[in-house]
């Protein structure tokens, strides 16, 4: 029985069962693939035929050990170059939780893939090499995790075996990480000393690291709290699709299909439809053949209103006492994804929840060096992988909230009109300037 499965531990932790999505960031050198391999292997999620296949490939290539990164690097080009290019998703579960790992590349030229992987994650697991401590890459990963407002960041100080499992070294790095976390305003951070190669503190508690009193990585992932803590008031319901059966049994049925975000809704709630500003009440909340008494954030439901009013895709149903901002001018923090640089005063398609409008880039307000967190003042060109605060004007009003208040109504993507490619991802942010100010005023002395 693993040591953490003691009676005391069992009583203290009531695991919150369900799905946990986490992203891992770091390069192969940090032991990221080894860590994922270790989690999959120790939780018995690697199958025999998979292990056979990678063992054979490793041998054919002359590797002594089984190369666990072969499991995650799914494309021919990735295996050839021995690097992760695109996000790969892996799945494993323990009796306590089901996990989805978005395994993301760590190199700076793949920042956009990291942003993609992190956008749907609840938790980021960031690897730090115990020999090197906090480096540029750590700063970048931490910054992105906090930009996307992930609920937790878990720093794994890896390769503790190479620094003699010493607590002095761990504590030095811990101080650096705490400073960095404060600087980027990370929500909730956890720091664990591990050795992915030998399995210390990954699934089982390590004897080599007995001075560390905290949880193992897996136990933390199994028990960490990720339930939404939004207030009930900031509920948003973007209408995806209108359901009108037109059959005899449901002749007058008119339901608005969508997914709730940011709280709970109840039948009888007074709601406002955007952009028409018409007011009605929720008559019923339907899921297949059942009507619900309450529906919560994340639920895909169909809402029927008391009044017969015009509602279509792209409209938003919101509580009448808490409206989002309805505006044509927004400030967003974006990450640019495309090889073609952003065009100032260029026109793009802005996709936001279920709506789509045309927009123009009005100004680049700030650009951040994501390795040092310093503002780049002399360069306002936004190129691939850049992170910048920009001002956008839209042709029709959009309904937005601050990203931290509601990530669904606070996020958007930009699409190139000519190529239809997704060229940028952005989060709406009112207090971006003061946020950046904190970043810039802090001392950036992490780089060695």
């Amino acid at each position: 029985m693993p040591s953490w499965l003691t009676k005391k531990n069992m009583e203290n932790t009531k695991p919150e069962i369900g799905l946990l999505r986490f992203t891992t960031a770091g390069s192969v050198d940090d032991g990221k693939s080894t860590l994922i391999g270790r989690l999959l292997y120790d939780s018995k999620s690697i199958f025999e035929d998979q292990l056979d296949s990678i063992t054979e490939t490793s041998k054919r290539r002359g590797n002594e050990d089984v190369d666990l990164s072969l499991l995650t690097d799914g494309l021919r080009a990735e295996r050839e170059q021995g690097i992760t290019i695109d996000v790969a998703y892996r799945y494993f579960s323990t009796p306590n939780r089901k996990f989805i790992i978005a395994d993301t590349p760590g190199h700076i030229q793949y920042t956009r893939n990291m942003v993609t992987g992190a956008s749907t994650a609840d938790v980021a697991v960031i690897l730090v090499d115990a020999r090197n401590g906090v480096i540029e890459q750590t700063i970048r990963h931490t910054f992105i995790a906090s930009l996307l407002n992930l609920k937790h960041i878990i720093f794994c100080v890896n390769k503790m075996d190479l620094v003699g499992f010493k607590d002095e070294r761990f504590n030095e790095i811990k101080t650096e990480i705490e400073k960095l976390s404060a600087q980027v305003g990370a929500k909730s951070t956890h720091i664990i000393p591990i050795s992915a190669k030998f399995g210390d503190n990954v699934v089982d508690k390590s004897e080599n690291l007995s001075w560390f009193k905290g949880d193992t990585l897996l136990h933390l992932l199994e028990t960490i709290r990720i339930a939404d803590d939004y207030s009930d008031k900031c509920v948003r319901f973007p209408v995806q699709y209108v359901i009108r059966p037109n059959n005899d049994k449901f002749h007058d049925y008119r339901g608005y299909a969508g997914r709730i975000s940011g709280g709970k809704i109840y039948p009888g709630d007074l709601v406002t439809i955007l952009p028409s500003m018409l007011v009605s009440r929720i008559k019923s909340i339907d899921v297949f053949e059942n009507s619900l008494e309450v529906a919560k954030s994340g639920d895909s439901v169909t809402i029927v209103l008391e009044d017969d009013i015009d509602v279509s895709r792209g409209n938003m149903i919101v509580p009448s006492d808490n409206l989002p901002e309805v505006t044509k001018d927004i400030n967003v923090m974006i990450c640019w994804f495309n090889e073609k640089p952003m065009m100032l005063r260029g026109k793009y398609i802005l996709r936001h929840s279920a709506s789509e409008v045309k927009c123009m880039i009005m100004a680049v307000n700030n650009k951040v060096n994501i390795n040092s967190l310093e503002e780049v003042s002399d360069d306002k060109d936004v190129k691939m992988n850049d992170i910048a605060n920009i001002s956008i004007k839209t042709t029709a009003p959009v309904f937005v909230d601050n990203y931290k208040k509601n990530p669904v109504s606070g996020s958007l993507i930009l699409v190139d009109e000519a190529t239809n490619e997704t060229v940028a991802a952005g989060r709406n942010d009112y207090f971006i300037n003061s946020f950046l100010q904190t970043l810039i005023c802090g001392d950036c002395i992490f780089i060695k």
Binding site: G18, G74, R90, Y253, S300, N420, A425
Partner: protein, 303 residues
């Protein structure tokens, strides 16, 4: 013993996500179709589509790419399902593609029409002017599939460019395309095999009998049990025997492995899969052709 307590909260989350994707498909595309193979994943897709649009009808047809080497049970189930859901059923036949000279039958003992399906599928997409094909592909199935997006863009040749995929952020799906291009959409990307079976059990979805134990003529090839059919060539050393088996995946007969099993109900199947140490595609001959077999087929336009 038929007591199996499972926590269903993660299924709820997966269902919510899949229904969201189904509705995005209906809203963003003009002519989508659901690729129905008769396998468990596409059966679950139909169930999810039913839930997503209730009390309305599923707003797209079912498209079956028929290799001509099907299990009869699959065809019966397919026809019955189309009738029950009221969906239009479109069948595109690989045999027609062969007759038209669009593709050539493979030769040898390992001959399979699995790869030929790509031609038939792409032709059907073009003929029917489909702009989205909804598939039951899951990221946990295979390492190239682990890289797949929910909304996966295909160029005018139906090809997938894995190194240059559109980034997919949050749940904002970009289904914009030019004329002639299309999308493959995978609503159950994040489901594992076990999730699918737990969901089938939870929703009490009726399944084809092939998934339950039955007596069947089989033979062993390279360590896998394959179902025997009259059009299959045997090697000299291979012998047809009758055993209690069930299918873990259902595809073309020529490349579908069967597992020795006595599981005759969903509880036993879920238990069996939870304890399994071999992936479901471990029995699929089509994936064993090379390390990048799936990636190569997908690039060409496979499911």
């Amino acid at each position: 013993m038929n007591e199996l307590k499972i926590d269903t909260r993660h299924l709820q989350q997966l269902e919510n996500e899949a229904i969201f994707v189904m509705r995005e498909i209906a809203a963003q595309f003009e002519r989508p179709a659901l690729l129905f193979s008769g396998g468990k994943d596409s059966i679950v897709l139909v169930h999810l589509a039913k839930k997503a649009f209730w009390p309305g009808r599923i707003p797209f047809p079912l498209l079956h790419i028929d290799t001509g080497h099907n299990f009869q049970e699959t065809l019966d189930y397919r026809d019955d399902l189309a009738k029950k859901t009221g969906c239009e059923l479109i069948v595109a036949k690989v045999q027609d593609s062969i007759d038209k000279g669009r593709c050539v039958e493979e030769k040898g003992v390992n001959a399979s029409r699995n790869k030929l399906q790509t031609v038939t599928l792409l032709d059907a997409i073009e003929d029917l002017k489909l702009d989205a094909a909804i598939g039951g592909g899951r990221r946990d199935e295979e390492k190239a599939r682990a890289k797949e997006r929910f909304f996966s863009h295909r160029d005018e040749f139906g090809q997938w460019d894995p190194k240059n995929q559109r980034p997919e952020l949050w749940n904002i799906f970009n289904g914009r395309k030019n004329m002639g291009e299309h999308f493959r959409v995978f609503p159950i990307s994040n489901w594992t095999e076990l999730d699918v079976w737990q969901y089938i059990m939870q929703e009490k979805i009726e399944m084809p009998s092939l998934y339950y134990t039955h007596r069947r003529k089989v033979f062993n090839r390279d360590g896998n049990w394959l179902a025997w059919a009259p059009f299959m060539q045997l090697k000299e050393t291979e012998e047809v025997v009758e055993l209690d088996v069930r299918c873990r995946t259902i595809g073309d007969i020529t490349c579908t492995g069967v597992t020795l099993s006595t599981a005759d109900n969903l509880v036993d199947i879920v238990t069996e899969i939870a304890a399994s140490r071999i992936t479901e595609r471990g029995g699929r001959a089509d994936d064993k052709r090379s390390e990048a077999a799936m990636e190569d087929r997908k690039k060409e336009g496979y499911f």
